[in-house]
């Protein structure tokens, strides 16, 4: 590939036009990633609209110098910025424009320098910069190209490759920095959008316009697993209020003063611009106050006030479309945060806390069933004392309820795993019930009092073992009890043992139990998972 030593205004415009086209291809997917700052699912669209305004204005530049085009782009971005991400994007473009002032064209080293300005500019205007967002991505990009700021003979393609690689790594890292992303198991939407724009620019420089027509930008995948369902994400931040944004035009505007004034009025405040035009974005409970204040400073344009609760509902709708079919909802009764995570990760729609010694009421179950976004609901009671309660729900709701009578957690997991996304409700009940009966459950806890049961003499606090609900073994240690039970089971047909250890059991002890069993039965696949359940030290699934 021929190196590119400098870029003029015309190429700069075409490069960003190509990047905008590239962004357009994945804007819907970027929307679906959006969880921060509010899960309203419009980041991709906002960035795209901002870029479109940027490019439109780029064509109105007075001449073809890099300076004129970059300034026109920055102006277009400011005028057309939508949402948080759009405003930050406009700041990034403003940083480029300032650096390219009075330049006919720019070199690789000058681009590296301009990105430093973009990064600094992005952080300005944000009252509370949050890491793990597109701010971090532009910062990491700037840091990656900082060593390239000198020299005249560098290749712009090479610089952009560094930019794209740094952006890619930074985006992949965002869930580690921002909790809400980690919980949702997604990367930051704004960061992803920025990566896509840089990637589109790079592809343009490489002359890959033809290939871009048939390709799609790649959404960076995180290896962080979601622990919360979409409807749970950021639920603690409700109420959202109103997303309020507008362009303020006036004379001698003081952005710093405006920012100070509005800081206490809400969240996610952004004030950017210059003394003649400023773009303001805020999430506030009282949009009227913000508007009243701003009208005293100048004229308002492109005023948008949106109820974020509604946006959030739209987002939930979108997430429903995105996931595997939720035609049938599954509700499970589970105690223990680890076990709740297991069930959530396997796709239950909702969890009702409860289990041994803490049975939920019919009302508790009914409420969750009614909230589920489906007319067909399967309930997994996961305890023999809760099956009857679950069976009562049907008579209290219009919805169609089926109970797969799982008596234990392992039965519930086996039933849930076997759920067939393509099968109808009747078939699924059959499939799940069959899968449930193929698993054996061992539960080990401490005896609450001394007792004599058949041949078993039990002392208080001694570990005792239940096989599918029946008390069958007692011993000095959990391991001894488990070994007694396994030796009676006949393991020839068994493949997988999963050990869920309880809230009162140390992980080291659980690992010890697992490694002991592994050495005795090397052919088995043995997994240890923190269940965090009360009462039972161990719940063990044998299948």
């Amino acid at each position: 590939m021929k190196p590119i030593n400098s870029i003029g205004g015309q190429e700069l415009r075409e490069m960003f036009a190509a990047a905008t086209g590239w962004l357009e291809k994945s804007s819907a997917e970027i929307d679906a990633l959006n969880v921060f700052p509010v899960p309203d699912g419009d980041t991709g669209t906002n960035m795209l609209l901002t870029m479109r305004s940027t490019i439109e204005e780029a064509y109105r530049a007075p001449d073809h110098s890099a300076s004129a085009v970059a300034h026109a782009m920055a102006h277009g971005a400011l005028m057309g910025a939508r949402g948080n991400s759009g405003v930050i994007l406009s700041q990034i473009l403003r940083g480029l424009a300032q650096s390219f002032t009075e330049k006919e064209s720019f070199t690789a080293a000058e681009l590296a320098g301009a990105l430093q300005a973009s990064s600094a500019m992005a952080y300005q205007g944000i009252s509370n910069p949050v890491e793990g967002t597109m701010l971090t991505v532009i910062k990491d990009v700037a840091a990656a190209v900082q060593p390239e700021m000198t020299g005249n003979d560098k290749d712009l393609i090479a610089i952009m490759e560094t930019v794209v690689n740094a952006a890619s790594e930074s985006v992949a890292n965002t869930p580690k920095l921002l909790n809400v992303l980690r919980e949702a198991g997604v990367v930051d939407a704004g960061g992803q959008g920025l990566h896509t724009i840089f990637d589109g620019a790079l592809r343009f420089l490489r002359g890959e316009m033809e290939q871009m027509r048939f390709r799609k930008p790649q959404i960076i995948v995180t290896d962080v697993h979601p622990t919360k369902l979409p409807q749970m994400i950021a639920a603690d931040e409700i109420p959202y209020g109103y997303c309020t944004e507008f362009l303020l035009k006036g004379e001698k505007l003081e952005t710093e003063k405006i920012r100070k004034k509005l800081e206490k009025k809400g969240e996610s405040l952004i004030v950017v611009g210059d003394d003649s035009a400023a773009r303001i974005h805020i999430h506030t409970l009282e949009p009227g106050d913000v508007i009243a204040y701003a009208t005293g400073l100048g004229t308002l344009h492109q005023v948008s006030i949106r109820n974020m609760d509604e946006q959030h509902q739209d987002y939930l709708e979108m997430q429903r479309d995105r996931g595997p079919t939720v035609d049938t909802a599954i509700v499970a009764v589970v105690a223990g945060d680890g076990l709740a995570d297991v069930f959530t990760s396997l796709g239950v729609t909702a969890i009702v806390p409860g289990g041994q010694t803490m049975n939920p009421s019919t009302k508790d179950l009914l409420q969750v069933v009614e909230e589920a976004a489906s007319d067909k609901v399967i309930i997994l009671p996961n305890n023999k004392n809760i099956v009857a309660t679950a069976n009562q729900v049907q008579s209290l709701t219009e919805k169609r309820i089926e109970v797969v009578p799982s008596m234990t957690i392992p039965q519930g997991v086996a039933a849930l795993l076997a759920f067939d996304y393509e099968a109808n409700l009747e078939s699924n009940i059959q499939i799940m019930t069959r899968a449930m009966s193929a698993v054996k459950t061992v539960e080990i806890c401490r005896a609450v009092r001394s007792a004599k049961l058949g041949d078993l003499k039990i002392k208080r606090k001694q570990p005792i073992g239940f096989l599918d609900g029946d008390l069958v073994a007692v011993g000095e240690s959990s391991l001894e009890v488990l070994n007694k039970m396994l030796s009676k089971l006949g393991l020839s047909k068994i493949e997988v043992i999963t050990i869920y250890y309880g809230a009162d059991t140390k992980s080291a002890e659980a690992e010890q139990v697992a490694s002991d069993i592994r050495s005795q039965y090397p052919q088995l696949q043995i997994e240890v998972v923190r269940g965090g359940q009360p009462h039972y030290n161990y719940i063990i699934s044998i299948e």
Binding site: G185, G323, P324, E422, E495
Partner: protein
């Protein structure tokens, strides 16, 4: 002149079968960093999986450029005036677009019909092989195209993945996203639905996966053909064939290997089963 049949390497049709049935297979490309290989032509399947598992470069795959199809069309146009192209699902690869684009770039007088199968692997392969047989029996292009379109909904593919790691890395996870977050080691079973990979269910062990594939077949009352494919575990696939031939002694059961292009996403130890229902 008999209609010539063209497909891509994601059909998993073996060289022997392609030759026997007169099918032209256009390879996709597998790329390890800077090195580019034509699927199965320039890199053996064994070598591919060895590098996938052991190497530190994650391979990417690309559709054949339109030019590859232009070459094929030109060559075939010397022997026929009708070509039927059946490609892998356009949701999974741009091959369909390339095949379509190439159509207008040849000067030879030759009618070309390009069909997006919305399938992959033998889910596509069995359809193409059936079409080749019908072409051999003298059907014309319109009849054949009609035949293929009707066969698409009768082709059912299920794939056992030993891991979702590779599918996620390749960014092709689609609706299978819902399977990702598992805290337990689970082995997903996927199908292809509306042209995209979609989850079917999940099992906990390879043996349970094999059982699922085995039990999938008796759900169909009339079967035209079956295909069993492996990635790195031929013995498991052979075992499945053996068990299936015990209950379906008359049906043809084809053996194939999951192509590296699909293997990039399916990873090692994957097994695939396709049922082509009879009309």
């Amino acid at each position: 002149m008999a209609v010539k049949i063209v497909t891509d390497s994601l059909s998993d049709i073996t060289d022997d079968l392609a030759q026997e049935l007169g099918i032209t297979v256009v390879p996709l490309y597998v790329r390890f960093g800077e090195e580019v290989y034509r699927d199965r032509v320039e890199m053996t399947t064994e070598e591919f999986y060895r590098r996938l598992v052991q190497g530190d470069i994650f391979p990417t795959t690309t559709q054949p450029p339109p030019g590859d199809f232009v070459d094929v069309y030109k060559k075939l146009a010397k022997e026929t005036d009708e070509i039927l192209v059946v490609t892998v699902s356009s949701m999974l690869s741009g091959t369909y677009q390339s095949a379509l684009q190439a159509k207008d770039r040849i000067d030879e007088k030759c009618r070309i019909e390009v069909i997006d199968s919305r399938k992959v692997a033998m889910g596509l392969g069995l359809i193409v092989m059936a079409a080749a047989k019908t072409a051999g029996a003298g059907a014309n292009l319109d009849e054949l195209a009609d035949c293929v379109r009707k066969a698409i909904p009768r082709s059912h593919l299920v794939i056992y993945f030993d891991t979702l790691k590779y599918l996620a890395k390749g960014g092709r996870i689609g609706k299978a996203q819902g399977l990702m977050g598992a805290m337990l080691s689970i082995k997903p079973i996927l199908t292809i639905k509306d042209g995209e990979m979609a989850p079917l269910t999940r099992v906990r062990s390879p043996a349970a996966g094999l059982d699922y594939l085995y039990n999938f077949v008796p759900g169909f009352s009339k079967i035209e053909a079956l295909a069993v494919e492996h990635a790195t575990t031929p013995d498991e696939a052979d075992e499945l064939v053996e068990r299936l031939s015990a209950i379906f002694p008359k049906e043809q059961i084809y053996r194939a290997i999951v192509s590296p292009v699909l293997g990039t996403h399916a990873g090692p130890n994957a097994l695939a089963l396709t049922v082509l229902e009879a009309e």
